[in-house]
Amino acid sequence: MNESEKEHLRCRLFLHAVLPAMEDLFKYSASAQEIVGERPFSIAFKSRSGLCSALFIEDGVCRWEKDPVKLSSHALTFMSDSQINALFSGEGFSLPIPTRGFLQPTGFRRFSKLSDLLQVHLEPEKEALQNKEFFEAHVRLLLGVALYGVRELGEHEDDSRRILAHTPNGVAQFIIGDESKAAWVSLRNGKLDAGKGIYEGSPDTTITFTNASIALGALQNDLDVMAAVGKGDIKVDGSVRLADGLGFVMERIPMYLPAKQAS
């Protein structure tokens, strides 16, 4: 894979795996709601490569859309995937062109604050993680990023596609502790979908992390997963092959995203 292809994959992960975490942030963070206030607000991110996604915020609810059809109030266009990556990672130079909403600069300032808040939740300081509620919210956000990341890599990365070609179809439900912290990913003939919460239907495999600490270790590739399963810290019920295949893809996410954001 050349550098340009790698940057494109990173951009996919930022736009289609990290940005959707804003939806969860809005659910759990009063600060996020305060930043936006009561006026509806929306912002789209577009790369010259064609990648695009947007956030629509209204009545206290944030909705993420991939390839949005509806026009957002604000839009930023980037001349390359690398520039989007620089914006989200904070590394390198990024100079997006405001192509919509440039007469309402407060919108861009609002997004900037939201993005800082998201970063605090995705890349928290050690002290913040001492707070149990914050820690669990952090891990829940990471799970969402991970499963949406599996969707992107699973469809667009050669190694992931190769593994999933021999992984059985099905739905994997992931749960951290209890069903209030859950997300799922489905695989059907090479196509993936992901969602938050409990899957409406019968999953083919259920992966349950005993607690947020175990989940965090697994999501950050910093846990002996085999030992954790043996000890009962991670329970896998149902299709082991499906869990294994998706797990492989999940482990590849840090190759494209810095570790703190990757999981």
């Binding site: 085999m226 030992a227 399963v229 043996g230 000890k231 329970k235 299709s239 499906l242 492989f248």
Partner: protein, 406 residues
């Protein structure tokens, strides 16, 4: 986690501190029923074994295949002890090596020579090298989902691999002659070897017997194209025939690999081949610290003698059929149809419509509670030590478990 396995779990917690994975490989609890099955064995005899918690099981996994005569078979142990008194690991091989090679070449019809290793993967990987040496070609065709060991070219794991490890390994599906031929034609004169199993026995899936003409057609194509046909008979070998499973399925490979049942649990593997490959084989470096150990070779000789003397192959086929029949009847009784797959001596049974194995996992967990070890995701094995009474007991327990589950 069940209290029934508390010592196993306690040991595992200790292990997890000093062993990556706790237990790694095919014996990892990940592949069976974590928390609902034993993790560590203590002792065994016949067709039964005891875990570290003192739970006893009728064993249908046989150490994942090696135990073909039964645990602690007195004649096997006597042969081992007799050789042990003389010595096991020396600076040189012993006469046992020559005797065993002669014994095997007398029985495996096409083969003129034998080499020995410890594990199946030692000899499958070596066999590929022999094929490459002989043909001067690089490519290897293998069956999708088949297991040949843990070397990079074939490991079922994903970690630590690079693209180059498998650049010349190409897969085709079991019973799909079209896909096989497409690969052969695609790579024309680049294929060194085709490695196959006598029947398909993937993990997490039903076993599949060969369709008519599948194996013989592969053989014909290999002959036409100068491709070396390697039979991985590690799982089925010495359970279907003492002369190689190809004799049962009506084809002839150029090389064959054995392990598991050849030594009734003592570590030994073998690769055999035709005279046409002997010079190439002699050039491919093959060795390991323990590969010429005398005790497993003495045991293998005795094992083969007993297999033939006691007509073990007929016995395990008969016992396997009883198990299949009984399970099918129970499946019908409880309206959970059971699919029996593979040859009776190497049986597997799954429930129809249970593609994600959830019901199978519950069934096997229930059977373990009842004292019968059935793997939910891997084919089973029958040994000479299994008797009709053991099958009857197994089926009685299966009846109880299914009644409870349904």
């Amino acid at each position: 986690m069940s209290d029934k396995f508390s010592k196993s779990l306690e040991l595992f917690h200790r292990a997890a501190e000093v062993v990556p994975g706790g237990i790694y490989g095919h014996m990892s609890p990940v592949t069976t029923l974590p928390g609902r099955s034993p993790y560590y064995a203590a002792r065994a005899k016949g067709c039964r074994y005891e875990d570290v918690d003192g739970n006893e099981y009728i064993d249908f996994l046989c150490g994942y295949g090696p135990i073909v005569l039964g645990y602690q078979h007195p004649e096997i142990e006597e042969a081992a002890e007799k050789q042990r008194r003389e010595g096991d690991c020396f600076n040189h091989p012993t006469e046992r090596m020559v005797e065993l090679a002669e014994m095997l070449t007398e029985r495996v019809d096409f083969a003129d020579w034998a080499v020995f290793g410890k594990n199946g993967g030692d000899v499958t990987t070596w066999a590929l090298q022999v094929a490459r040496e002989k043909t001067g070609r690089k490519k290897v065709l293998k069956l999708r989902g088949s297991y040949h060991g843990v070397d990079p070219w074939c490991t079922p794991g994903h970690a630590g691999l690079i693209d180059e490890d498998r650049a010349h390994i190409h897969e085709f599906s079991w019973n799909d002659l079209q896909e096989f031929h497409d690969l052969v034609y695609q790579f024309e004169d680049e294929v060194a070897a085709v490695i196959i199993t006598p029947f398909h026995h993937p993990a997490f899936g039903d076993s599949e017997m060969p369709a008519e003409g599948f194996l013989s057609s592969i053989e014909s194509t290999c002959r036409e194209r100068g491709i070396i046909l390697i039979l991985d008979d590690i799982r089925a070998g010495f359970r279907l025939s003492t002369g190689g499973s190809h004799q049962v399925f009506g084809f002839t490979p150029d090389m064959i690999c054995f392990c598991k049942a050849i030594g009734n649990g003592y570590p030994i593997s073998a690769a055999m081949g035709t005279n046409q490959l002997k010079v190439a084989a002699s050039r491919v470096f093959l060795t390991g610290s323990y590969w010429n150990s005398a005790v497993p070779m003495a045991v293998a000789k005795k094992c083969i003698q007993i297999l033939e003397r006691d007509q073990v192959i007929d016995h395990i086929d008969k016992i396997g059929k009883l198990l299949f029949q009984g399970l099918r009847e129970l499946g019908q009784k409880y309206n959970r149809p059971i699919k029996a797959s593979g040859p009776p001596a190497v049986p597997f049974a799954t429930f129809e419509g249970d593609e994600n194995f959830r019901f199978m996992q519950k069934f096997c967990a229930g059977m373990m509670e009842q004292g019968v070890y059935l793997h939910p995701h891997h084919n089973w094995f029958i040994s000479a030590a299994h008797q009709e009474a053991d099958i009857k007991e197994t089926l009685q327990k299966a009846d109880l478990v299914l009644k409870d589950l349904v």
